[in-house]
Subunit: 396 residues, 2 copies
């Protein structure tokens, strides 16, 4: 099978795909597993080829060095494919490739491929630059929870304010039935996962390297807890190191997997703005939490609100409303009609209708009519010597 | 003149309008002075009548009890005018009216009427609900400065954060040549005036009562300093008490007089949101400063940003840009092309082009071309045993 021993492949694939039985299933899954390491995340040409030929046939084409001209399609020119082959071929190293699967099996990781029941529907929006596989560790039912999820992302250099808001947001969203998606980084990401775990909610961490390599290492304990109670996921095979490119591409998975992305704190150049950009490109709602203008950690949030591609959100309700619909606003009735009348009344000195009319600048008829209405409310009352109003005047 | 002794009127008017000489000038100004106390601020029928007939003729119509049918116009029906007459007539109290002017003279106040050279151009946007007169104390040249002015308004219950931001905003806008308009209230308003005075800028305080009655009384010293170095203004004659209605109407003057309104801190029901509403109705730009979502004093700012009628502004530059044009954004180049290449390079271990190509997932040709370009930048260098990159990797 692609030059590998079939029995060995079957054993390895079955270890990471408990349901795989027949030869075709095993071959397809194996091909996706290999593609996840041959192509860098977001490789459109690999995506086009796999979509066009299927993962097995596409992989066979690379292994057999078929000419690019035979593989070109509407979505990938001969040049595209030739450059793709030049990129992928140096990575065709059988020993290393088997190691991806062995390491996955050792860590209890599982392999998901497009079309699987649990494959996140949100990835469809990525088209040909979508992931070719998803490696997971933890509770796979969290993948189903992605259908009702919000990404909470932000600066690693978070402030106490940002962490507090993240905690409230994550717990509040879990209470409202949302799964919490993030990137397991220090600062906002870590707090988002932690608060979701504390609230016994679903939480999914997307990593930029393999799911066997927890990053950052200071979050080993947190990621271990996420594996126990939530899910850790990556499109790269085990053994893959996180790189800057992979961080940027990982961000597109966070944006695509969730229904909306909320940036809690972000400096002017924070990576979380990249996630917000991906969400925006995908047509997903983006929220940003404002903060003090004196805090550099909120500058990125303010920027994307000002640029109009993030909505300002303050509360879990407002974050949830990004997904479920318009943000509910407390109605604020602006008093107009009665204001002048009430201004002209005293709580202590009774006044005549004529006096009230002159003071308020209303007509006598308007004054009488309004006084009658307000008397029914209990706002004003008529005494022997005239009208008074009740209670303390609200301040302006 | 409207039943008053002409010599007395002339003396009183000359005291508040240094330039008034001929009889017609005096009569017109006197009529405007009286209208400013007969009609409540924002009285559209009074505005329509004065516009239609001129202030003198309109006043004569009220004094002489002319029938409403003769005074109706396209902008004021017979009913409107009848109700107007019923409102204004009870206030035709000659002794009180003369007292408005005497008190103004005593306080060194001056009277401005529409059409005067210094009449704020911004008031034109108010149409018939615009002020019928403007009473001022202080340096009238500040009226000319309104042509390049920004209103800084906000909560009385300001926080230390809000006062800090207001101070920076006011000083920064003065540095950029703007006059600072506000309402002399406690909190944000007071700080806006204070910082403008400290920066030797123009500052104009609009009051809800007469300019002889400083309100709030705790701002006596501040308002005295504004009279000395800036301007205190009101559309109501001296002796008028501030009322809730007049506060709301005073807010429209703040919005109309300035080129843009910025709300620094505002609770959910702050009066400064009313100012922002007026500015919005007038088509003037509105800015709001965000703050911690945990601060009730910023809830109103967040609301109007979210509702889309205020732009989020953080700095004096961004506030100035509300008036002068687009908010300048620091360009943020997102590195794409080189990222994968740099990820594949080490600062210490030299690597071959083939190795770099395999690690980066780029073709050998792309790798060579990019390496050449980056070598020119000094970002990477070639040694005997291969390529290395310089310096510390920027974090994601």
């Amino acid at each position: 099978m692609f030059g590998f021993k079939e029995a060995e492949v079957a054993e390895l694939v079955r270890a990471v795909v408990p349901g795989a039985h027949d030869r075709e299933q095993i071959q397809t899954r194996f091909a996706h597993a290999l593609w996840s390491g041959l192509a860098e995340p977001g490789d459109r040409v690999a995506g086009a080829l796999v979509r066009e030929l299927g993962a097995s046939e596409a992989l066979a084409s690379v292994v057999e060095r078929r000419p690019a001209a035979r593989l070109a399609s509407l979505d990938a020119t001969v040049d595209d494919v030739q450059q793709g082959l030049d990129r992928w071929t140096p990575r065709l190293q059988p020993a290393a490739m088997l190691q991806w699967l062995r390491q996955a099996a050792r860590y209890g990781a599982r392999l998901h491929i497009p079309g699987d029941e649990l494959w996140p529907e949100g990835f469809d929006g990525l088209g040909e630059s979508g992931p070719l596989a998803l490696w997971t560790r933890g509770k796979d039912e969290a993948l189903a929870a992605l259908a009702h999820s919000i990404a909470l992302v932000g600066a690693r250099a978070a402030t106490g304010y940002g962490e507090h808001v993240t905690m409230e947001a994550s717990a509040g969203l879990v209470d409202r039935g949302f799964a919490i998606v993030s990137g397991a980084a220090y600062g906002i990401d870590g707090m988002a996962h932690r608060a979701a775990l504390a609230s016994r909610g679903h939480t999914i961490a997307f990593l930029a390297g393999g799911v066997d390599r927890f990053y950052p290492s200071g979050h080993d304990a947190l990621l271990t807890r996420i594996v126990e109670h939530g899910l850790v996921a990556s499109e790269l095979p085990c053994g893959s190191a996180p790189t800057r490119w992979r961080f940027l591409q990982r961000n597109r998975l966070i944006a695509a997997a969730s229904q909306a992305t909320v940036v809690v704190e972000a400096g002017w150049r924070s990576g979380s703005l990249n996630t917000a950009n991906h969400a925006n490109d995908l047509g997903r709602p983006v929220g940003a939490v404002p903060g003090p203008v004196t805090s550099a950690a909120s500058a990125g949030c303010h920027k994307i609100i000002r640029e109009g591609f993030a909505q300002l959100v303050c509360t879990p309700d407002e974050m949830a409303a990004l997904v479920t619909g318009g943000i509910p606003d407390e109605p604020e009735p602006v008093p107009r009609e009665n204001t002048r009348l009430l201004d002209a009344l005293s709580t202590r000195s009774p006044r005549t209708v004529d006096d009230i009319a002159a003071r308020s600048g209303l007509t006598v008829a308007q004054t009488q009519s309004e006084l009658g209405r307000l008397e029914l409310d209990g706002t004003v009352r008529a005494g022997e010597r005239g009208w008074t109003k009740r209670g303390a005047r609200r301040e302006t």
